[in-house]
């Protein structure tokens, strides 16, 4: 037992005690994978721009059985009160990585079950061998939601909510979610997250979109200011299926939204869009690998970053077109707005193409607010602060308009407006 903890160096040592106590072959195998590679440092190409050193700063305990229920309730109310349309929606609520029935309102059109302690089955896409964060998740997973939408069913909208409630000691939770849409099924999923105190949220989500099925997946990350949130999502889409996603990142001290999406059969579609608005010392990383593994597929990606204070934004987007994926249509755009002298953006849009009959392009821009636009507004009597605000909001709003699900779009807008008004108050 002690041998394991001796091998754990760097950020991994923050979990040493708990990893020592892990039982079960699958979890042990995951630990084996973890020990081989460790948690990635910046020498690992995929983590070139994002350091996991903040994980080393403290030891992360397993969440205690008891948590501050009032705190959780208020976080939930706060999330739900921002928009009328979401209040009545069915919701699956997790607190510190465990399902809480009392706070939830289970949906009807979706078959919902949960990962129990011993039923870790789904490793179809997320492999501990390939990704250390998946390995860590596999080793320490407690719970998670399994959503299943039957063939041809329209399951409407569902909220999947994660609340982190940490006291004085830092905790970590590693939920494992799975979403499966059978042929022709429809679902609009809103993943929300919020929290207080020092915690590390390490969710892994596996998504399977069946033939001609359609999943709208909107992720809104408003984790607490001390939180570290590293989310990994694996997606596979069957023929004529659509996975249309948007991730809006506002919270966390350090966050990473990583998506591995694979177009498995002809005429499948992927939209992996996102935006983040960061300030102070926040670090936000949006990483994606989109694989075209079949012909005639479409992928679209637009990501916008607004960075103020000492914030640092990272965008890594890879589009891989395999040799079979003729007639691929791929487009990727990453834009960043730097609002302060100390803000930083690191972007790496990447094309890897092995098929010749394709149309792939990517673009990236980095800059400050346009002086001409500012001047235009000021010459019409708009005060500078307000003019800046209007331009920033417009920049992000353009991205938000890509959210297909209207309710989700309005909700993200409302959350962004709250963030803006808080920023202005602070200023």
């Amino acid at each position: 037992m002690n041998a394991i903890s001796k091998d754990m160096s760097g950020p991994l040592s923050s979990f040493a005690q708990r990893l020592n106590d892990v039982e079960g072959a699958e979890r042990q195998a995951a630990i084996g994978a973890l020990l081989r590679t460790g948690l990635p440092d910046r020498h690992v190409e995929a983590w070139k721009y994002t350091s996991l050193r903040p994980l080393s700063a403290q030891e992360f305990q397993a969440p205690p059985a008891q948590y501050d229920a009032a705190q959780a309730k208020s976080l939930l109310d706060n999330l739900l009160s921002q928009h009328d349309a979401v209040q009545a929606l069915p919701r699956i609520v997790f607190v510190n990585g465990r399902f809480v029935k009392d706070l939830s309102l289970l949906p009807e059109g979706v078959d919902v079950s949960f990962f129990s302690q011993n039923s870790l089955t789904s490793d179809v896409q997320a492999s501990p061998d390939r990704d250390p964060l998946v390995a860590l998740n596999t080793a320490l997973v407690d719970d998670g939601a399994i959503l299943h939408v039957a063939k041809g069913a329209d399951a409407g909208r569902v909220l999947l909510i994660s609340l982190g409630v940490a006291g004085d000691t830092a905790i970590s939770f590693h939920p494992r979610h799975s979403v499966v849409l059978e042929e022709g099924a429809h679902l609009a999923l809103l993943s929300l997250s919020a929290g207080v105190g020092p915690y590390f949220h390490n969710p892994v989500t596996e998504v399977t979109v069946g033939e001609s099925a359609k999943l709208y997946h909107t992720t809104l990350q408003t984790e607490g200011p001390q939180a570290i949130a590293l989310a990994t999502t694996y997606v596979q889409v069957a023929g004529h299926g659509v996975y249309n996603s948007f991730a809006l990142g506002l919270g966390s001290l350090l966050s990473r939204h990583e998506v591995h999406a694979r177009l498995n059969a002809p005429h499948a579609q992927l939209h992996v869009n996102g935006a983040q608005n960061l300030a102070e010392h926040q670090v936000g990383d949006i990483t994606s690998v989109i694989t075209h593994a079949a012909s005639d597929c479409i992928s679209r990606q637009t990501v916008r970053n607004v960075l103020d204070g000492h914030a640092r934004g990272v965008f890594q987007g890879k589009v891989l077109v395999e040799q079979v994926a003729q007639k691929t249509d791929g487009y990727q755009m990453n834009q960043a707005l730097l609002l302060s002298e100390n803000a930083e953006i690191d972007a790496k849009p990447e094309l890897e193409i092995y098929a010749d009959d394709v149309r792939c392009s990517h673009g990236a821009t980095v800059g400050a607010l346009d002086d001409d636009q500012l001047f235009y507004m000021r010459s019409r009597g708009v005060p500078e602060a307000q003019a800046r605000h209007i331009l920033i909001a417009a920049f992000l709003d353009e991205a938000l308009s890509l959210i297909e699900d209207e309710t989700a779009q309005e909700y993200c807008r409302a959350m962004l407006a709250i963030r803006f008004s808080a920023e202005r108050k602070a200023a």
Binding site: Q323, E341, V358, S361, T365, A368
Partner: protein, 496 residues
């Protein structure tokens, strides 16, 4: 699709013998024993009568190299290189007395004749200047590098009158040690990377250019590289220093004889541009790419970097890369002086089993620095081609501006084209734009040309040349024609 069938047939037809410039010159060689250790480094230094400081410099590089690992991040794969299984020094047999053109080994002259490229003008090579007014083009000064030792340099006199120093670097070490010592390794430090360290330890020769204050170099300078001896890695070292307000245009081109064993070429090129200085560095690289099965061919692992030290200085890299089995090359600009400008124009063509991982780095340090990157990549056969570039804006580079455009063209469905740009900005008042596209030759364009009676090959040639136009137009006239020809030859047989 008849076009595809034709393409396949043509590719199959493409035999071994398409490399026009595969021949070997039979000149007696002066070889160091195989292998690399401190003694070899000392031997190279001693053979070249080098001063103590340079030997020390080489030894430092060698020791650092020993502790370094070969980089693996590039998207290229090749069997491990045995660095002990090569000669690190090869010199053509020396003749007594000072060299003049008449004394140049006739075999060597024949080699150049076979090359049929910018050394084409016999008058130039013989050092005969055309009377003024009759010059069809500005004269070109040639520093011919035959394997590792520069054999002959033309036009030395004209250059000397202008105050320009253009000579083999080994000679510069003897005659201008203060300049060499000051600048050598100042842009590419000895331990910069694995190959640069290797080069620093064992470089045998290369060119040295010094353009003094306010001088506009009266002619274009040119070096022709040839890798000739069997199993000799070639480690060129080029250093170009251009003082305030001066300017120079430098041409580098290369063809190598056909051979079976892979050869390593790890050159280092350093450019230094002071205030208001400008350097234009153009390369046409056409080394032996290996046969259609990927056997043989040159490994081209090159470190090229320019430092814009002074305000408003400018460094412009233009490259046409059609040769080599593997290319690993990132000509870069360090934009230190306020208002300095960096440019990178590149065409990379890969065919058969060639692999190319090439691009640039633009490091914006000074205020109002500007950079432009235009990279055109063409992949055919079973080749892989990657553009890998970095644009970094440091916190003090207010007003920095970058524009990057990378376009890839795929010919055939067994090749790969990849684009890996890194964009890092730490200044809000900087503006960076990047765009990249990948596509195949448009059926419409092809149809249009075919309909007007062009053969498919000519049509593709025309379209490819059009695709590369933005880069080719940056080449000096001497090179532009040759480059266009090269493009066509490189893609020969890859299209119907």
């Amino acid at each position: 699709m008849p076009a595809v069938t034709e393409t396949r047939e043509a590719v199959e037809k493409l035999g071994q013998s398409t490399y026009k410039w595969g021949f070997e010159t039979d000149i007696q060689m002066d070889l160091a024993p195989k292998g690399l250790n401190e003694d070899i480094v000392r031997l190279i230094s001693a053979r070249k009568n080098e001063p103590e400081w340079l030997l020390e410099w080489r030894l430092t590089a060698f020791r650092k190299w020993q502790s370094m690992k070969e980089p693996t991040w590039a998207k290229v794969s090749y069997p491990p290189i045995d660095y002990q299984d090569a000669h690190y020094y090869a010199a053509p047999r020396k003749k007594e007395g000072p060299k003049s053109l008449d004394e140049v080994d006739p075999e060597l002259l024949k080699t150049y004749e076979k090359l049929g490229i910018p050394l084409h003008e016999q008058a130039l090579l013989a050092g005969v200047e055309l009377p003024e007014g009759e010059t069809a083009r500005p004269p070109v000064a040639v520093d011919a590098v035959f394997d590792s030792v520069s054999v002959v340099t033309t036009f030395r006199k004209t250059l000397e009158e202008a105050g320009v120093i253009f000579c083999p670097i080994s000679e510069a070490v003897q005659e201008h040690p203060e300049l060499v010592r000051k600048y050598l390794g100042s842009v590419v430090p000895v331990a910069d990377n694995f190959y640069a360290a290797l080069n620093s330890a064992v470089f045998t020769d290369g060119s040295f250019v010094y353009v003094p204050k306010g001088v506009r170099c009266p002619m274009e300078l040119s070096t022709y590289f040839r890798i000739n001896a069997r199993n000799t890695g070639q480690f060129e070292r080029t250093l170009i220093v251009v003082e305030d307000g001066a300017s120079v245009s430098y041409l580098e081109g290369c063809t190598a004889p056909m051979r079976d064993e892979n050869q390593l070429h790890a050159a280092v090129v350093e450019l230094v541009a002071m205030e208001d200085a400008s350097i234009k560095y153009s390369t046409v690289q056409n080394w032996y790419p290996g046969d259609s099965e990927g056997r043989g061919g040159i490994y081209n692992f090159v470190t090229k970097r320019g430092a814009c030290r002074g305000a408003r200085s400018k460094i412009s890299w233009t490259q046409v890369e059609t040769g080599s089995a593997i290319t690993w090359k990132y000509p870069s600009c360090i934009l230190q002086g306020d208002g300095s400008v960096g440019e990178f124009y590149s065409v990379a063509v890969t065919n058969n089993c060639q692999q190319a991982d090439t691009g640039t780095k633009m490091i914006h340090i000074g205020r109002n620095t500007r950079s432009t990157i235009i990279a055109k990549t063409i992949s055919a056969g079973r080749s892989d081609s990657t553009y890998r570039g970095l644009v970094r804006v440091q916190p003090k580079a207010s007003g920095a501006r970058n524009f990057t455009q990378c376009d890839s063209l795929l010919i055939g469905d067994e090749c790969g084209a990849h684009t890996v740009p890194y964009i890092e900005s730490r200044n809000m008042a900087a503006r960076i734009e990047h765009e990249a596209t990948t596509s195949k030759i448009s059926e419409d364009q092809l149809f249009y040309c075919r309909q007007r009676g062009l053969s498919e090959e000519d049509a593709v040639g025309l379209i490819v040349n059009g695709f590369c136009r933005d880069v080719l137009k940056e080449l000096p006239m001497e090179f532009a024609v040759e480059a266009q020809k090269l493009l066509q030859i490189s893609l020969e047989g890859s299209v119907g």
